[in-house]
Structures are given as C-alpha cells and as structure tokens.
C-alpha cells in the first residue's frame, strides 16, 4: 500500500499566528494509494496543516517535498499546479447550478472553432465527461442535470469530491467529508474515498469522527496542540490509543509525547 517514496512530504513545518504556535515542527507524509486520517482535537492544527499544504497559509519554516522535489507552496495556485486538490468543509458548490455546471465551474469546456467573442459552452462534452467520471467513481446521482441544491448532503459531498478530481490531482485533501451526513450517506462518501485510493491518489482525510477514520484510513496521524502526537497503523491500533494521543492522557503505554501544556486533559473523552 504505502511503499516507496512519499508523494507529498512535509519536514519540520511550523506556522505561527501571532502568539499562537499553530504548527510546531510537524513531519507529515502521504504516499500514492494511501488514505491518511488526520485527527486531533479542536485547535490541534489540523486545518492549519491542510491550509499550509493547500497554499492558503505559507509555512513559516520547514520544507515541503512533492514527488521527491523540494517545492514552495505560497498560494493556492501553487498547490493546484502541483496536483494537490482540496475539498473544503463548506463544499463551495453553487446550489442553483446543475451537477455538470458545478463540476466544470471555472474551467468550462468551450466548443472548438467558435470565435473568441461567442465562445459557446460545449455542454455535450461536459455532460459526457461528467457522466464518465461519476460512473468511474460509482457515484449515483438521479440526473446530471439536477440542480445541486436538490441533492442530498451525501450526493453533494460526492459531487464536491468528484469536482476536485477534474484537475487530475495526485493528492486530495478532504476537510471533514462526513460531517453532518447520515449513516448511509457517510458510507457512500467513505466508499468514494476508497475509490480514490484505488486510483493511486494520496488522500488526506480530516475528521472528528474516529469511527469513520478507522473505517477508511490506512494510517492515522494525530496532531495535538500543533505537534505531531502519534502515528498509527489503522489496522494495528485501537480507538483507545488514538484517543489518548489526541487528548494527551496516557492510556496503557502507547508512545506518549511530552505534553507542551499540561493540565488540559480530559477534553476529548466524549469523542471516542
């Protein structure tokens, strides 16, 4: 599964917002064909880490390597140019447009041969490609011409994920893809994430829901107060161990990092 050199590798990445050390010398890696679950309590730095990779915040310190090459990611276009796609929690879909229009938003296909002024949209080609992409991903949607606003939350999430794949990315970052979804819809989205893995993409899933993370992730990476607080093979560990890494409260002997701010324990128990 995660053999060979990592696709994306962060080394000693730090980010500070004023007095807050949001990320403190974090090492992080994703391999092709691997799903990494990124977990941690609120304020642990998950979102900051993802935004650093996505180019929304530039890292203060540390190096980022993509396919072995050292790269600098200082704006979102840098990340998309490398092949890193991000699906944000609030989806960023236009409810009033149909599935095809949303998928191709901002990169519409234009009919060949027409003048620059008229530039007619090639609806047939876009619909054809949408159909192919969604059926490859086994995403079922009543009609490609349904308005996105009429779809269920799970379908919308799947459309958002499918949209990120149009740019042929190598790494996909998913921010809370199963938040606010029902059981069946969550299962659909997790199934879609597995299909991304089959396509040899590197997938990073941020989630609060450990059940979902265990369901889909190969590796679980825990952040706590901006630092790496543990890395687990999803098949070889238990929820208890992960929870203790998230909260910093020691469970039986799993490697427990030095606690930068003691006395904050007991927060995450109810998450388990």
């Amino acid at each position: 599964m995660s053999t060979g050199a990592p696709l994306l590798e962060l080394e000693g990445v730090s980010k500070r917002f004023g007095p807050v050390q949001a990320l403190d010398r974090v090492d992080f890696a994703v391999h092709a064909g691997e799903v990494v679950g990124l977990v941690g309590d609120n304020g642990a730095g998950k979102s900051t880490l993802v935004k650093t990779i996505a180019g929304i915040h530039a890292a203060d310190d540390g190096t980022i390597r993509f396919e072995g090459q050292e790269v600098s990611i200082s704006k979102p276009q840098d990340a998309t140019g490398l092949g890193i796609a991000t699906v944000y929690q609030d989806l960023a879909l236009c409810d009033n447009l149909d599935v095809v229009a949303n998928l191709f938003l901002g990169r519409e296909e234009v009919s060949p041969g027409t003048g620059t002024l008229s530039r007619q949209l090639d609806e047939a080609r876009m619909e054809h490609q949408t159909g192919e992409l969604l059926s490859n991903l086994a995403v079922t949607i009543p009609s490609l011409r349904s308005e996105v606003g009429t779809l269920s939350g799970g379908q919308r999430q799947q459309v958002a994920v499918a949209r990120s794949l149009l740019g042929e990315p190598k790494v996909v970052l998913l921010d809370e893809p199963t938040a606010a979804l029902g059981v069946a819809q969550t299962a659909q989205v997790l199934q879609l994430i597995r299909r991304l893995r089959e396509r040899e993409l590197g997938v990073v899933v941020i989630s609060h829901n450990l059940v979902d993370v265990f369901e889909v992730a190969d590796r679980i990476f825990v952040l706590r107060l901006g630092r790496a607080a543990g890395e687990f093979n999803a098949e070889a560990t238990t929820e208890e161990h992960v929870v203790s890494a998230i909260t910093g409260v020691g469970a039986d002997g799993e490697r427990k990092k030095d606690d930068p701010a003691p006395g904050e324990s007991g927060l995450g128990e109810e998450k388990a």
Partner: protein
C-alpha cells in the same frame, strides 16, 4: 454507451424524468409556462371587456409600447441574476436619450455617432456604478439610488433651459416608427423559424454524437411547432396592420442575443455562479468583481438603448424621459415572468414576457379608460403576486433541498 444500454435504461428513467418535470413546474423553473397562462388570462379578460384589445392595430401598438421597457429589462435580468438591483436604469435611459438628442439636434452630429455616444454614456455609467459597488462593497441598492438622483440631475443639465428637445433626424425617429412590408415580414419569420429549427437540430445531433440522453423527438417537434405557430400568427397579425415593426425586431434581437450570452457562454455561466454562491465562484477561479462590473455595464448599456427607443417613439426627449414608473416596471417585468430577486435564477426571455404582461395590463386598462389610480394599484398588485410566487418557490426549493 451502446444503443442497447440506452434502450434498456429508457424505460426506467422515464419516471424520474417525469417527476423532475413536475418538480420543476412546482418550484418555478418552468415559470415561463406560468406566465404564458397568466398572459392568456389577461388577454382573455381584456378582450372580453373590449373587443378592440386583440385587434391587429392594438397588438401592434402593444409591441411598440413594450420595446423600451423590454430592452431595459434585458439589462435588469443580468443584475437580478447576480442577486443585485439597479435603480438607476430609468434615469440612465433618460440621460442617454438626452445626450443623443442634444448631439443630434443641437450639434448636428450624424445619427449613428449620436446613438453611439448615448450608448457609450450608458455603458460608462454602468461600469462606474458596478466598480463602486464591487470595489467598496457598498450595497448596489445604495450606489444605484445615488445614481438615480445624480443622473436625473444630469438629464436636466443636458437638456438645458428648453427642457425638451424634439427629434428631427429621420434615422433616429425611424427606429420606433418603421414598419416592413408583408414580404419582408415573412422573410424575417422564415429566418426565425429556420434558425430555431437549426439550433434544435444541431443541439440534438451534438448530444447524439456524445452518446448522451436526448430529448424525445416528440418534445423537439412540439417546441419547434410552438415557435413556428407563434411566429406565423404574430407575423400575420402584424402584417394585417402596419407590418412588422423595426422596434420589435430590435427587441427580439437583443433578447435572443443576450439569452445566448446568459445560457450558452462561459460568461453567462459565471454570472449564474456569482449570483448563486459568490464564494464558490471565487474559489473556482472566477473573477467575481470583473463579472459584477460587466453586468452593471450591460445594465447601463441596455438602459441607454431602451432610452433611445423610447425617445424615438415619443419623437422627443423631455424632463420626464426615463422617469415616472418606467424604472419599477422594468424591474417588475422580469420578476413577474420568473427571474428571481434572490439571484442565480432566471432568463432573458422573462424580460420579453414580463414586458408583455405589464404592457398588456397597461394597454388594456387604457382601452377601458381606467384612471391612473386604478392602473397603479393593479400593476402593484401583480408585482406583489409575482414576488410572493417567487418567494414561495424559493422556500419550497430550500425545503426539498437537503435531506
């Protein structure tokens, strides 16, 4: 996809598609049907009250009456699609007409240059207002309200002490007062019918080539027949009076052209996206502010063109040009015909259909010699009804939006 797969899928997909049609009808996507029914009702009532209403002469008058409002509404549709409002279009139409009149009559400019200057003024004003709105994030309502006052002042300034300028140039007065012979009228009709048939056929062929579901043949034939019948009936009626008016052709050209821009081009798609979810549009790399400026530029341009047509019909520009209820009717029209005030939904056809509805009500009440008091109240009632229907449709969409 193979034909066999398509054939087997057809039966199963029939039901969802029918459900989809019903949903669209209920939730107002097919508001065009609603407005056609409304228009038929209005025509029936007025015809019942006064049998001159549906006479060829009166219907020709109606077409001439709706040209200016319809053209201004075309620009308003773009603004409404963004979820914004432009209150200055009435004043801009008056100012642009005044600029044209002064240049043509007082300075002896050629009619083409005078018209071009008037359109340029409208466009510049729209771009200015759009820039202020997007650059400083001031509500468009306030920017264009300020514009409404300022451009009305500018109109008085441009007209000068006389307060009224009579148009003399035959090219300018001809815009709203030219009628074509029967033969020319039928040639136009043939172009419309043939062009629509070609668009339907090419679109169908492209979908077949791409292996996509296509509309049933009966649906295509129905749509083609509908347009053909309407065109033939309209041409017959207009020919039996003075003939097809140039003004109507100008209006139709802009409606069809702008509908193409809105529905078939990347720019139009981006207008819908910004109106639906500006943040999503921004993240998709769409230049949101440039779209906004362009849309207000279009609104100003169309206002100027509408103003020119109104002046041509009146044969003069005066202090009332672009004033009175013109602004509100130009906004009310598209809303009545189904363009949402909340942004992201609508079409340029609603400019034409809305102008027809409002024009019919106004024309019919004139025939019945009703007082202005009644006219205003009835028009207000119709607008309120339309906005309520729009709001209810929106609530239903939201209700069924997320499971």
């Amino acid at each position: 996809m193979s034909d066999a797969a398509l054939a087997s899928a057809d039966g199963e997909e029939d039901l969802p598609r029918r459900k989809e049609t019903i949903r669209r009808l209920v939730q107002g996507d097919l508001a065009s049907l609603r407005v056609v029914i409304g228009l038929a009702l209005i025509w029936a009532i007025f015809q019942f009250e006064n049998d001159r209403f549906l006479s060829a002469q009166n219907l020709t008058n109606l077409m001439l009456q709706i040209t200016a409002i319809g053209l201004i509404s075309v620009g308003i549709v773009f603004v409404l699609l963004l979820g914004e409002i432009d209150l200055s279009v009435g004043a801009v139409s008056g100012l642009a007409a005044a600029v044209m009149a002064v240049l043509s009559v007082k300075h002896g400019w050629s009619p083409y240059l005078a018209i071009a200057a008037a359109i340029a003024v409208g466009m510049a004003i729209g771009v200015l207002q759009g820039s202020l709105f997007s650059r400083f994030v001031v509500p468009s309502f306030v920017v264009t309200l300020a514009g409404l006052l300022a451009w009305q002042g500018a109109l008085l300034q441009v007209l000068g002490s006389t307060g009224s300028i009579n148009l003399t140039d035959p090219k300018i007065t001809g815009l709203a007062n030219t009628f074509y012979s029967d033969t020319v009228g039928w040639i136009f009709a043939a172009i419309v019918i043939g062009g629509y048939g070609a668009v339907l056929f090419l679109g169908h062929r492209r979908r077949v080539a791409a292996g996509l579901d296509r509309e049933s043949l009966s649906g295509l034939v129905f749509r083609f027949a509908l347009v053909a019948v309407v065109t033939i009936v309209a041409t017959t009626v207009l020919n039996s009076d003075r003939g097809v008016p140039l003004a109507l052709l100008i209006l139709l050209t802009f409606v069809v052209g702008m509908e193409y821009v809105v529905k078939r081009t990347g720019f139009g798609r981006h207008v819908f996206a910004v109106g639906g979810n500006a943040e999503a549009a921004r993240r998709a790399g769409i230049p949101v502010n440039a779209i906004r400026v362009a849309v207000f530029g279009i609104a100003g341009t169309m206002a100027a063109i509408g103003g020119i047509m109104a002046a041509s019909r009146l044969l003069a520009v005066n202090q009332n040009s672009g004033g009175n209820e013109l602004l509100l009717l130009a906004i009310a029209g598209p809303v009545i015909a189904g363009t949402s005030l909340f942004g992201g939904r609508g079409s340029v056809w609603t400019a034409l259909m809305g102008a027809l509805v409002i024009g019919s009500i106004s024309n019919g009440m004139d025939l019945l010699a009703l007082s202005s008091a009644v006219k205003f109240m009835v028009t207000g009632g119709v607008l309120l009804l339309a906005v309520l229907v729009d709001a209810v449709a929106r609530q239903q969409r939201q209700g069924s939006g997320r499971v």
